[in-house]
């Protein structure tokens, strides 16, 4: 047992302090107001303080911290994207993640397990090769592997997928990892709080005050806050916030669902993704299989669960792992994915002075949490977006300079 747990046994009083202060009412004004207390918003608050010394910051969360997509994803971290811009960006995120438990002094269970994207068709193999080539080019460890290597890594996998979709190969991405998603939000919250940022839960933004094209404040259910800089980091709620400042984005909201099984003794060591079968699955350190699938095909601003989803997913899980017939699904849930036409995020400045957007994460916001926090903090501090996120600017949709990441979606979203 690590020695640092000893104090819990020896001290009469629980020796751990609060992660973040319990605050009810915001001050009259802040230098920066961050809307959304998920991983992204909290990370931005943390890096604003750490990298730029900006600590007069309020994070406003309408529910509880980490309660949105931060707590609803399947906690996969990877950088095996399709465009060089995407690969570089997510690789930077992976690098921060690797040291994040130490930096935040919170064990995020960042567990590098290797990530297989299975290809069942020749056209999928082509995409895998494309991704592998781009990844290799920018120095990210992704290779196309054959069925033998997959079978060796995961002998439990039915390589023919019940005869329905024989596996031809895979993109193997060694740095692929899973982490405790809640912990990421909590760790950044604690870090930001210690630097002096203030986190307000149950605090909903009702409107944003813009005068002469400049942000001057936000109205909340807990009063008016003066500020010149506002960051929106609200994922599925982005359209509601951008509407407040009359900003048009091409974001549409689709539900994305996931589910977990009862705990069982860990046997699945890797993260497996099958595009053809619309499955991604890993096994958590509690022993649950954590599984997700494609986006729901319709636009709905809801987090409802559907039976269709779990029926389709489990049917395909059985193609891959027929022996799971009597393993039970405990729980399913949904999140709201903010999708962009090119599947790349929207980050950086907007035509409204002082209004910054961190959105369009769609199905992969969790893995970008550290780097989005860091780059958005830099954007706010310098009122200028760093090169790393230039390709993700909102104006690319007018400029017809899209960053096509559709091919990097883990399943056919």
């Amino acid at each position: 047992m690590p020695l640092r747990l000893l104090k819990y046994a020896l001290k009469k009083e629980h020796p751990a302090p609060r992660f973040f202060k319990s605050l009810e009412t915001p001050k009259k004004s802040y230098d920066v107001v961050i809307i959304g207390g998920g991983g992204h918003g909290l990370a931005a608050a943390y890096y604003l303080a750490k990298d730029h010394g900006i600590t007069n910051v309020a994070v406003l969360e309408k529910g509880y911290i980490g309660g949105g997509n931060t707590g609803r994803n399947t906690a996969i971290v990877r950088s095996n994207y399709l465009t060089p811009e995407g690969v570089n960006f997510y690789d930077a995120s992976v690098k921060i993640y690797e040291g994040l438990s130490e930096e935040l002094d919170l064990n995020l269970f960042y567990s590098t397990r290797g990530h297989f994207t299975l290809a069942h068709t020749e056209s999928a193999m082509r995409t895998m090769r494309w991704r592998a080539e781009v990844n290799k080019h920018v120095g990210v460890d992704s290779v196309v592997v054959g069925p033998d290597e997959i079978a060796k890594a995961c002998p439990e996998l039915d390589m023919s997928c019940s005869g329905q979709a024989p596996i031809l190969g895979a993109l193997f991405h060694a740095p692929g990892s899973i982490a405790r998603h809640d912990g990421v939000a909590w760790g950044y919250a604690r870090g930001a709080d210690r630097y002096g940022a203030e986190i307000f839960q149950n605090t909903e933004v009702l409107s944003i005050d813009v005068k002469n094209g400049k942000v001057c404040g936000v109205k909340t259910n807990k009063g008016y806050i003066e500020t010149k800089q506002v960051l929106s980091a609200v994922a599925g709620f982005t359209p509601r916030i951008t509407e407040m400042v009359d900003l048009e984005t091409p974001i549409v909201i689709h539900p994305l669902q996931a589910c977990v099984t009862e705990p069982m003794k860990p046997w699945l060591n890797n993260i497996l993704v099958s595009g053809s079968l619309h499955v991604y699955v890993s096994q958590s350190s509690r022993g649950e299989l954590v599984m997700g699938s494609s986006l729901d095909p319709y636009e709905v601003h809801q987090t409802r669960s559907t039976l269709d989803f779990v029926e389709g997913l489990t049917s395909h899980m059985l193609d891959m792992f027929p022996f799971l017939s009597n393993v039970k699904i405990v729980r399913q849930w949904g999140g709201m994915a903010d999708m962009t036409p090119d599947f790349a995020p929207i980050m950086g400045k907007t035509p409204i002075e002082g209004f910054y957007l961190d959105a369009g994460w769609g199905t992969w916001g969790f893995k970008a949490t550290p780097i989005s926090g860091k780059t958005m903090a830099a954007t706010i501090a310098n009122d200028s977006a760093p090169d790393l996120i230039h390709s993700f600017r909102l104006s690319r949709f007018e400029d017809y300079e899209l960053t096509g990441e559709k091919g990097a979606a883990s399943v056919g979203h």
Binding site: P2, R4, L5, L6, Y8, A9, A16, P17, F19, S22, Y64, G71, P84, E98, S101, E102, D105, L106, L108, F109, Y110, T121, T127, R129, W130, E133, V134, H137, E156, S162, W186, T261, E262, P263, M264, K265, S285, R286, S305, T306, E311, T314, S315, H316, M317, L318, F323, L324, S325, N326, K328, I329, V330, Q332, W333, D342, Y400, L402, G404, K406
Partner: protein, 969 residues
């Protein structure tokens, strides 16, 4: 030794059939009808499992499908719940998640080091230094999980059904049975389901010496079972409540998806454990679990028991225990001001000691911790919720029955969207705003008295009837009065802890307090940090107490704390049930069997199985493809193209529809001619292409690629919804078979089967004719996709095999051979045709593939036009070019999606590449920077191995056009 008692009225056992089984290597005997837990308990086996985290010994808790600590494996199956799984002859059972057996689990040491494992301990350690984390993680992963999965477990295919009824009643207890009967009497078709093996709910076990309750149940069940309008399904649970009132009902045989016009939720309530030190010892169980043991399985819960209660229900339990032959040492009532109701008097009469205003301060374990040996009792301050331990005393006992209150089984109501409020009269959440067509009755509705519950059933039935348009008078019932069935705070603090709130996850009161100290002081954060309610029982016995504890910590009323979100499933549901039969629909052409008989290798394209190539014996795939291609170039080949999308656009606005949908011009298209169509999306990205043939002024016949056909048709329908043109769209993909006969001999072969004049002058390229081929009416199209001499024949699907056979026969002397879709890819490449999806990606615009010629910008509108007008003014970012490798190239062959490298930059990628035996060159398409697009430019391709290969831009087609030589032939 046995706890088995004489036959109880309506017991669930078949005493005529003994069942032999083993548990942890020891042999036992039970009866048919026993669950694993009841049979083991009858044999006085108390340690039935180990807890998830601390590996503490655990026995019976609920006997109601939330005894998560009693999970077993029979060697085949795992995580079998002992409290509900029926005993089968010859079962060989072991508890899951132990090392060395349930009695001597080597992991039980974890319990003694529990102070080192504070709430959320895994967030607090193991991560520094970073390099040691994998070591710790490995240990933690080994300790995690419950049962071991059997990798040889067979795939089980379960049926799925749909069902409809007027009224679905969930829960066949007294409330549900009454409601179902009432509604059926008024004429409704009623289905009533219950998760238990037998209907009756609490009437079946909560007797308190009342013989009448047995008669009640018999009477109710008789009426329900015999009613022609009621279907009773037991062993059936509602797994969730989904949007639009979809309720999947899970039974052993499969899932039935119910949609009822009205739903009455009479799901009852879960008994909640009071929290005191060592409330988890084997022998400490819920009062209702003790009653279930007695009346369902005729098993005495213990010999000398204490009842700890905080409501009047515990007094009923005490009477049931006495009637079962158990000695009741004492009834300990947390409440100071209550007289225990009617049943207290009987207990006094029977000489039972009652301690009002007292609590069990802690249960005492036997030396081997396998059971209870006594309980420390002391006074309890019911207002401050503290034990007054100064005057504590010990009572000896071998079991404790707990009755402190209930939590509504309201998961389905929550999922249906019910608004719930906390009712202090019953100390539970009750519905206050129900969705339309959903009704709640009985305990889940905060009604506890038996007569009142049955009247609540009648009330709910009358509400449902009115909802369905029947004119029945409202039936009002009063709210619960009398003492609360649930205690407001049934918790006994203890300095040494081990007072468990959540048995799935071994969470104690102090874990909640410490979580709150660390800032996790709202219910959702607390759930995530402590993991309360996240185990397999989904918090059925722990969520309510967690809410109460948090309310106390924050000095807030319970309703301010709220509840966590209820999500499916109500009980964990097997993947085999949910996955069902696992359909993989695929489409076969009418000629499929012929391809199979001729050794075709098939490939999946969209939903279709297509012949990819026909390998001759001892020939490789590559040889087969080259030979097939060579046949097309030298004599003739034939491909089954039946999977191509085929859509008819019919009506006065047919040409106008195409004008708007595709990039080209169709108004001017002559009847009998064919034109290329290119489909873009609104951002100007290439989606698909195909051929539109004009059969009449108002009829176009569209053929498009296989993989996109369904999506294109859907998009056409969507556009037509918007445009409302005077057309009809018919997808005739399945109605027509198609085949393409190509090569220098194609004309001669076809000519032998038709009177159609195939000469160049009468039937030039890009034209369509209707003709009789081999006796079958056919649409014949001259296309130049794989060869400049090719005819595509579209015939009714049913006749396509006949036409195919005729062509094969006629082609024999010409060396005609079939070719597959892989060969087609090579042939079109030789011809210099790019293919959407292969030579384009999700961002490719028509300018980048040199398709300007297919775009008529000066039309009023087409999909993508606005974007193209902007893109046209911008510099190109990339350009698709045809290329060849050196004529003597024989090194490491580049592959599709290998990158084009310029200096150290990615300049593009190879989209198609193949060796062509006919041309004797490696040819392909690649995206390059516009600077490299000129014919003769050279660029570098990086292969998988990292070597660079030089390619040269050329013109297409890659070989000399044959058509000129054949003109006029």
């Amino acid at each position: 030794m046995s706890f088995r008692i004489p036959k109880q009225a309506r017991e669930w056992l078949n005493r005529d059939k003994k069942i032999n089984f083993t548990f942890e290597g020891e042999t036992f005997t039970g009866f048919e009808g026993d669950t694993i837990s009841s049979a083991l308990w009858a044999a006085e086996q108390k340690v039935l499992g180990r807890s998830f985290k601390y590996h503490r010994p655990r026995g019976v808790l609920s006997l109601a499908n939330h005894d998560i600590n009693v999970m077993l494996t029979d060697g085949t199956d795992t995580n079998m719940r002992g409290d509900i799984v029926e005993l089968k002859e010859g079962m060989s059972l072991n508890a899951v998640n132990t090392i060395g057996g349930v009695k001597k689990d080597k992991n039980s040491y974890i319990d003694s080091i529990s102070p080192l494992l504070p709430v959320g301990f895994y967030y607090k350690a193991f991560h520094t230094p970073r390099r040691l984390f994998p070591f710790w993680e490995n240990i933690i992963r080994k300790a995690a999980g419950l049962g071991v999965v059997n990798f040889n477990y067979p795939r089980i295919l379960k049926r799925k059904q749909h069902a409809h009824c007027d009224l679905l009643v969930i829960g066949a207890g007294p409330t549900g049975l009454t409601a179902a009967y009432e509604a059926a009497q008024a004429g409704l078709e009623v289905t009533i389901i219950d998760e238990n093996r037998h209907a009756g709910g609490s009437l079946g076990y909560n007797r308190a010496g009342d013989k009448a309750s047995v008669e009640y149940l018999d009477d109710l069940l008789n009426k329900v079972v015999r009613h022609p309008k009621i279907t009773l399904r037991t062993d059936a649970y509602a797994a969730g409540y989904y949007p639009d009132h979809l309720i999947p009902v899970v039974e052993a045989g499969g899932i039935t998806k119910f949609r009822a016009k009205a739903v009455i939720v009479a799901s009852g309530a879960f008994e909640q454990p009071p929290v005191f030190r060592y409330n988890d010892l084997p022998g400490v169980m819920l009062g209702s679990a003790a009653q279930r043991l007695i009346y369902r399985y005729s098993v005495k819960p213990f010999n000398n028991g204490i009842v700890v209660t905080a409501n009047d229900y515990g007094y009923r339990v005490a009477i049931d225990l006495l009637d079962a032959g158990t000695k009741v040492v004492a009834v300990v009532d947390l409440r100071s001001g209550s007289n225990g109701g009617l049943h207290a008097a009987e207990l006094y009469r029977r000489g039972i000691k009652i301690y009002p205003g007292h609590c069990v301060y802690e249960a005492l374990a036997t030396s081997d911790k396998s059971s209870v040996r006594g309980a420390v009792i002391c006074a309890y301050d019911d207002k401050e919720n503290i034990a007054l331990a100064a005057n504590k005393f010990t009572l000896e006992c071998d079991g404790i029955a707990m009755s402190a209150g209930w939590a509504p089984a309201a998961a389905l109501l929550y999922q249906a969207g019910t608004g719930m409020q906390f009712d202090y009269g019953v100390q539970q959440f009750v519905p206050n705003r129900l969705p339309e067509g959903v009704f709640a009755a009985g305990k889940v509705n905060g009604i506890y008295d038996l007569d009142q519950r049955m009247r609540d059933g009648i009330r709910a039935a009358s509400d449902a009837l009115r909802h369905l348009g029947h004119s029945v008078a409202p039936y009002a019932i009063e709210k619960h009065n009398g003492p609360s069935p649930s205690h407001a705070y049934p918790m006994v603090p203890h300095a040494k802890g081990k007072n468990f709130v959540d048995f799935d996850e071994d969470i104690q009161i102090k874990d909640f307090e410490n979580a709150a100290k660390e800032g996790f002081d709202n219910i959702e954060l607390m759930k995530r940090f402590t993991t309360v309610g996240m185990g397999p029982s989904q918090g059925k016995h722990s969520n309510m107490n967690a809410i109460r504890i948090l309310a106390k910590i924050r000095s807030l009323p319970v309703e301010k704390i709220g509840t966590t979100t209820s999500r499916p499933f109500f009980h964990p549901t097997p993947i085999g049930h949910l996955g069902g039969r696992g359909f993989h629909p695929h489409r076969l052409t009418a000629i499929h069997d012929w391809h199979q008989a001729h050794g075709a290798v098939f490939t999946d394209i969209g939903a279709w199985k297509r012949a990819a190539y026909y390998p001759a014996a001892n020939h490789s795939k590559e040889d087969a493809i080259q030979a097939e291609a060579m046949a097309v170039r030298k004599s003739a080949g034939i491909i089954d193209a039946s999977s191509f999308g085929k859509i008819e656009i019919y009506g006065p606005d047919a040409a106008e529809f195409l004008e708007r949908f595709f990039t080209g011009s169709y108004i001017s298209q002559k009847v009998g001619s064919c034109r290329y169509v290119l489909l873009l999306d609104e951002s100007g990205v290439v989606v698909d292409d195909g051929i539109a043939s004009r059969l009449a002024t108002d009829l176009f016949y569209l053929s498009i690629g296989t993989s996109n056909a369904a999506a294109v048709y859907r998009e056409m329908q969507r556009s037509q919804q918007e445009w409302q043109l005077n057309i009809a769209l018919v997808n005739v993909t399945g109605a027509y078979g198609a085949m393409n006969i190509a090569g220098p001999s194609a004309r001669e072969i076809l000519a032998s089967l038709t009177d159609l004049d195939l000469s160049y002058e009468s039937f030039p390229i890009s034209h369509i004719q209707e003709a009789v081929v081999a006796g079958v009416e056919a649409r014949v199209i001259r296309v130049a996709f794989v060869s400049d001499m090719a005819y595509e024949l579209h015939v009714p699907m049913a006749q396509s095999q006949h036409v195919w056979n005729a062509l094969i026969e006629a082609g024999k002397k010409h060396g005609l051979r079939p070719f597959g879709s892989d060969t087609q890819r090579l042939l079109r490449l030789e011809m210099g045709h790019h293919m959407p999806g292969i030579d384009t990606d999700g961002l490719t615009n028509p300018f980048e593939i040199g398709a300007e010629w297919a775009i008529k910008m000066d039309k009023p509108y087409f999909i993508g036009q606005r974007s193209l007008s902007i893109l046209a003014k911008r510099p190109l970012r990339k350009q698709l070019v045809p290329f060849v490798l050196a004529s003597n190239f024989n090194a490491d062959m580049p592959m599709e999606c290998n990158l084009v490298i310029d200096g150290n930059e990615i300049a593009g990628r190879v989209t198609s590449i193949s060796y062509s035996k006919f041309i004797d060159r490696c040819i392909g398409f690649a995206f390059v920077t516009p600077a490299k697009k000129a014919v003769g430019s050279e660029f570098q391709i990086r292969t998988d191995s990292g070597s660079l290969v030089t390619a040269t831009v050329v013109e297409t087609p890659f070989f000399k056009n044959q058509i000129k030589s054949q003109k006029g032939a």
